[in-house]
């Protein structure tokens, strides 16, 4: 399972003013790994995830992606971010662009793909998530679940090495959670490296290779789903799980 190291963070700290959100985290994420990050709200999960693609600039510490220090200001961040897909809680699809253009915009502009190439790829991706018939509509016409599936394939169109999911189902109506989780599950099975911040404990248990429990800006405990969910050792993990399970 543990092939090569894809992401490594070293001594990662993040503060917002006086509020310390991440406290000296050192961690590695390996190729083809599926990692779930769980924990109470305000524990720093999302901030940790957002530091991985430098959407949040660390207060101190380093973030390596494929061995390159992304926090180095001389690095062309855009180029590396193309290989780190991200999906947000509130979808953030582009409302002024049709579904197909949401997907093809960045490949055409930043990877210099021709319109034909980009659309061919986008059509394949849309078929994969069952959105072919929505190809030429604007996102206002989509349900929450459809918007999130669009957001996922928009990221996949850049051929990322890793996908970061920031609570991808938290803003969805219950009946739409399943369709989005199914897409992420398929992605996991296809061998994509995934880091997902989630409150879906059952999903975390089923798809993850590794589960991290975060609290107070620290990864308090981590292990296989079995270790975390069936035999948690840290008192905070036990306390948290007793509340959510």
């Amino acid at each position: 399972m543990k092939d090569k190291e894809l992401i490594r963070v070293e001594g990662l700290n993040k503060s917002f003013g006086n509020l310390k959100v991440l406290n000296d985290i050192t961690e590695s994420i390996y190729d083809r790994e599926v990692i779930s990050i769980i924990g109470p709200s305000g524990s720093g999960k999302s901030t940790f995830l957002r530091c991985l693609n430098l959407l949040e600039r660390p207060t101190s510490g380093k973030v390596y992606f494929e061995g390159i220090d992304l926090s180095d200001k001389r690095v062309n961040l855009d180029k590396h971010r193309q290989k780190i897909g991200m999906v947000f809680q509130l979808f953030n699809v582009f409302p002024h662009l049709k579904v197909i253009d949401n997907i093809t915009l960045t490949p055409m502009l930043e990877k210099k793909m021709t319109k034909e190439e980009a659309e061919k790829k986008a059509d394949e991706l849309l078929a994969r998530v069952g959105l072919t018939d929505k190809r030429d509509v604007y996102p206002t016409k989509l349900s929450g679940g459809q918007k999130q599936r669009l957001a996922i394939v928009r990221a996949l169109a850049m051929d990322p090495k890793v996908m970061l999911f920031d609570e991808p189902t938290s803003a969805l109506d219950p009946e739409m959670v399943k369709e989005v989780l199914q897409v992420i599950r398929d992605l996991a099975l296809s061998g994509m490296t995934i880091v997902i911040v989630t409150h879906e404990m059952r999903f975390a248990r089923e798809v993850s290779d590794r589960v991290m429990f975060m609290s107070d800006g620290v990864i308090q405990e981590q292990g296989t789903p079995d270790e975390i969910f069936n035999n948690p050792e840290n008192i905070r993990t036990i306390d948290f799980l007793s509340k959510v399970l």
Partner: protein
């Protein structure tokens, strides 16, 4: 009175037409220059450079916090003293109108850009879209839809504000009213004519802006 008004129009319409030309010219010049100047100020305010932010905030604060008539007096008195060449009253007033309007335009543009959801930028940047492409393809197309309606209102205000130039006898519609009024002593009819012409201009402008807005939104339905 209706009869008097028509009679007055028949006799003095050329005065009003001249005034209308002046008003349209003042308004067009102000709209054009204030849009450019206002855009620059909005960009300076949005830039993360602290000094520019302080300067533009003060600029906008003063211009929006003092009466426009007072600003017209100020420019009318000050400009001829500080420039080495002759300035007409009209030029001073046009400059004052432009400067005043630019502060409102700047705020409209700044607010329109800042109203674009932060998540849009995050999504674009996380895909690896460069900051300039994010601005061009994601932020501005969405900001335009916030900006244009408010900017349209601002343009209509500018048309009406040009009437203040009459205080300095700049050739425009309200000055025409004052001329006709003092020549005929028919105060109310001469005022009604000016009012109707203003109303026609602003109504046409409003309709035009509405058509434009509708065309802008049609593609998102």
């Amino acid at each position: 009175m209706i009869k008097t008004t028509f009679m007055l129009w028949n006799k003095y319409n050329y005065v009003y037409i001249d005034g209308l030309v002046g008003t349209l010219w003042l308004a067009a010049l102000t709209v054009f220059a204030a849009t450019i100047l206002g855009t620059l100020i909005a960009i300076m305010k949005l830039s993360k450079i602290k000094v520019l932010d302080v300067i533009t905030s003060a600029y906008i604060g003063v211009l929006r916090g003092t009466p426009i008539l007072l600003q017209l007096y100020f420019f009318w008195l000050l400009l001829p003293k500080i420039v080495p060449f002759d300035l007409s009253d009209t030029t001073c007033i046009v400059i004052a109108l432009i400067v005043n309007a630019s502060s409102y335009v700047a705020e409209v543009i700044r607010a329109g850009i800042q109203a674009v959801d932060k998540g849009q930028v995050e999504a674009a940047r996380s895909l690896g879209l460069s900051s300039s492409n994010t601005l061009k393809k994601i932020i501005l197309p969405q900001a335009i839809k916030n900006i244009l309606p408010a900017l349209g209102n601002e343009y209509i205000s500018i048309v009406k504000q040009t009437s203040l130039a009459s205080v300095f006898f700049v050739q425009e519609l309200t000055t025409s009213y004052r001329s006709v009024q003092s020549a005929t002593f028919l105060a109310i009819p001469s005022l009604i004519i000016a009012g109707i012409i203003y109303l026609i201009v602003t109504t046409v402008l409003t309709k035009g802006i509405n058509v434009f807005e509708r065309r802008l939104q049609v593609n998102e339905r």
